[in-house]
Symmetry: C2
Subunit: 487 residues, 2 copies
């Protein structure tokens, strides 16, 4: 193992350039639900980054959706990692709520977005999820290569531009390279994993997710009118907005939380080791508290920390993301809407599989008087063969070398670590983690960001005594990579 201090020095002295690289990447909008041209420009930019690193292969991978990117850095090393990138971001609503335009990627005082404990943060859509930390990882690699000539492992880069759409075409990105990917040893993704208190969360997998829309349309229902009509006819005309509200209500018990869909959740089988991890998290009094603070939570819905913690990882996650029907403008327009739509998602844990869950939803609707309601994938990311966007879960064992390589760096820096059974969110790692590739995987890195999917998404540039800034983030990536190469 080389003396890493030369690489650290390189990172220290190139900080201004590294910040500029983040800004360049973030200023190229890449809202996957938005403009296709932007997405292609961002894919090209990313491809150029891989080429500049010195990848022998760096190519756009066409899909039926936004393009992917494949690259390979052959370091002649013993081990090979797969590195995943999502280069897309969430849309931006209500720009007014942002302190700076979300694609300007400016550095501001943390206090300007209510985070006085961070001297300097970068505010941008994608700053934290995930373009900011990803560009930090590329900065770390560039620093290694500048100093040591090459990285200590071979790297297969796989990037997609549709993660926020449910990764409908990631398989098309991977498929041409499946035989190559089988030769890899692990998936290693390095980003900024600390929370506001400096604690690092290591997630041993990801939930799956199915995302779909329900539409009640008068035309298909065979009731009501073909267009929005004056509400004076309401005494003798059915209303799709009411029908959809009834369908949504039928999904839940009276608490509005417990799913009432037959079979949903009965196939959940927690990994035995996860129950121990959950017990550890229950003992950690700050675990839920930090979640609550970061999300402006008023009150959790649960009686005990045990119950809340278990449910956060293995409870049902049937969510209504939005409802749209009829008139929503100012004033008092009276109409009977001719359609009503809601957006639904359900996250999946072992052993829930997408097709099973979708069939449970369809059966529920059919058996409760809602056979007319259409289930469909959202427009963007729609696959002809499916009525949902999304994918299944993925899991890895804590004893895998790639996990231990990450944990060792945290131990070295005395970083408090929380090991989670899996992320509370979703990433499409099943394509690497479940057969046929069956690769172990881990995600790690110092540094912090937040407010993904919300206004004033941020990435900490200058940290504090608990939380790493950009420089610490990049150095931790270097550490982890060398750790893994040598374990």
């Amino acid at each position: 193992m080389p003396d890493l201090r030369a690489i650290y020095d390189y990172i220290d002295t190139h900080q201004a350039e590294h910040v500029a690289k983040l800004q360049e990447f973030l200023r190229q909008p890449s809202v996957s639900a938005g403009e296709a041209d932007d997405m292609r420009s961002c894919a090209e930019l990313l491809r150029s980054y891989y080429a500049k690193l010195g990848c022998a292969e760096a190519e756009i991978v066409e899909t039926d959706g936004h393009p992917g990117v494949w690259a390979f850095y052959d370091a002649g090393a013993e081990k090979t990692i797969v590195n995943y990138c999502m280069y897309d971001t969430m849309p931006v609503e209500a720009e007014d709520d942002w302190v700076m335009p979300p694609f300007d990627a400016q550095i501001v005082l943390g206090s300007s977005i209510g985070l006085a404990n961070f001297p300097r943060v970068m505010v941008a859509r994608g700053a934290y999820n995930s373009k900011g930390p990803y560009r930090a990882w590329l900065n770390a690699l560039e620093s290694i290569i500048a100093v040591a000539g090459k990285p200590p492992v071979n790297i297969m880069f796989v990037a997609e531009g549709e993660e926020e759409l449910g990764s409908p075409h990631l398989k098309q990105v991977i498929d041409p390279y499946v035989d190559r990917l089988k030769q890899a040893n692990a998936v290693l993704d390095l980003e900024a994993a600390q929370n506001q208190e400096g604690v690092v969360n290591v997630s041993l997998g990801y939930k799956g997710n199915v995302y779909f829309e329900l539409e009640c349309s008068s035309e298909i229902w065979g009731k009501g009118a073909r267009r929005d009509v004056h509400a004076s006819l309401r005494p003798i005309l059915h209303n799709p907005a009411v029908h959809l509200a009834q369908a949504i209500a039928s999904f839940f018990g009276s608490d509005g939380l417990t799913p009432a869909i037959k079979g949903l959740g009965e196939d959940i089988h927690p990994w035995p080791a996860d129950l121990d991890l959950i017990r550890d998290l229950v003992d950690d009094r700050d675990f839920l508290k930090e979640f609550a603070e970061e999300n402006d939570v008023i009150q959790w819905s649960g009686l005990t920390r045990e119950d809340l913690t278990y449910r956060l990882f293995y409870g049902n996650n049937l969510n209504i993301n939005g409802i749209t029907s009829g008139y929503s403008g100012p004033g008092a327009k009276t109409v009977i809407p001719h359609k009503a739509i809601c957006k639904v998602n359900i996250r999946l844990v072992p052993d829930q599989e997408p097709e099973t869950v979708m069939a449970q939803v369809r059966d529920h609707l059919n058996n409760h008087g809602f056979a007319d309601i259409t289930i469909r994938a959202p427009e963007s990311g729609r696959l002809a063969s499916r009525n949902y966007a999304g994918y299944t879960w993925s899991k890895t064992n804590v004893n895998e070398p790639v996990v231990q390589a990450v944990l060792e760096v945290y131990r070295k820096h005395n970083i408090p670590v929380r090991i989670r059974p899996h992320s509370v969110g979703s990433e499409p790692k099943y394509l690497f983690n479940r057969p046929p590739l069956s690769l172990p995987m881990c995600l790690g890195g110092l540094g912090h960001g937040g407010r993904h999917h919300s206004a004033n998404e941020y990435f900490v540039i200058e940290g504090n005594e608990k939380v790493g800034g950009l420089v610490d983030c990049e150095k931790s990536h270097v550490d982890i990579l060398y750790n893994y190469a040598q374990c």
Copy 2:
């Protein structure tokens, strides 16, 4: 009674000018839920019309909302009518759905909007509801005055710009003139009352209406988060969109139509004479059929014509006009919304009163686990003292001279007439019809328009063998006015 032919001739020879007057009035936007400046410009335009007629009084009446207009034409006649005008219109959504821009007020072939039976129609927001027919009435008056020197009755004009908001300030328009209005004999409003088949509907009153919003907010509920947050927290976080859907579902029986709000509708007492009128309408096989055709109805919700017809006039009208919550854009954004809103209206018939109905809704919410849900009036037209927009019902007797004056003109022209117990819709005539003014009232006139509140709202300029055009509309107004003066 003068020979009316000279007035008819005047109308015939001034058709181009009369069309231009309609266009002038319609090209001045007056969306009451929209721009205040537009509303004032339209009120000024209307005031100028009254002044040009020769009204001794023609003045803007300031209110806490959009301005009203008062004018008085003193013809030295025996009888005095009150004439009501709403100069406001519904908003315009989805301009793409219009064949012509909705404020261009162009004349197009009926076939261009799917109405091949009408040679020429004017397409505009407000073309039918109600600026088009109202300007036709002013054209008729101008013609009378040009030929006969003055109208055969005195006219008190009362105009408001907030009908589509539930007329929250009409009382402020009327109040300064109450003692004057008490001297009037009747309310007479002349417009275009024929349907597509040429049948005229005479409505002996109007339903009342209460319009309100329900908001479920995490903040007030004390559950969920203070802002929209990532849906990965859903297993342990309540969702206002679900809570509101449950509230909406609780309003109805499983048919989605029958209200389940305790007490709602128990105070409905049909006027005995109305039951006879309803029987006549049941015998008229075209009555519901025409409603269905004009509104692109797929299927009515009712088993028999008797049931449907009764309910159209005296059934409960609890409607959800729109629901808004969370993410409604493209793609698959996962969020837990922090608030959910729906717009509700309930029309009122004898003896339902607004305060009673609003209390029934509040009690229902409180008794079904929705005490947290806020009831409020829509932003536009909000009164500090009320949590709804709207007003009570109004009714008049078929034997009143003002009704008979209208019916006589239809008999003269062999126009098929349907007498309705009251309109299926609402107008704020209670201010004239219920104490203290207690005036009888009628609405009449040949001519036709449609699609109020929808795209391609139209007014027929050139009629066919069944339906009057603009010229016939104006002539019928002349007839009715002289009839009433002499009966």
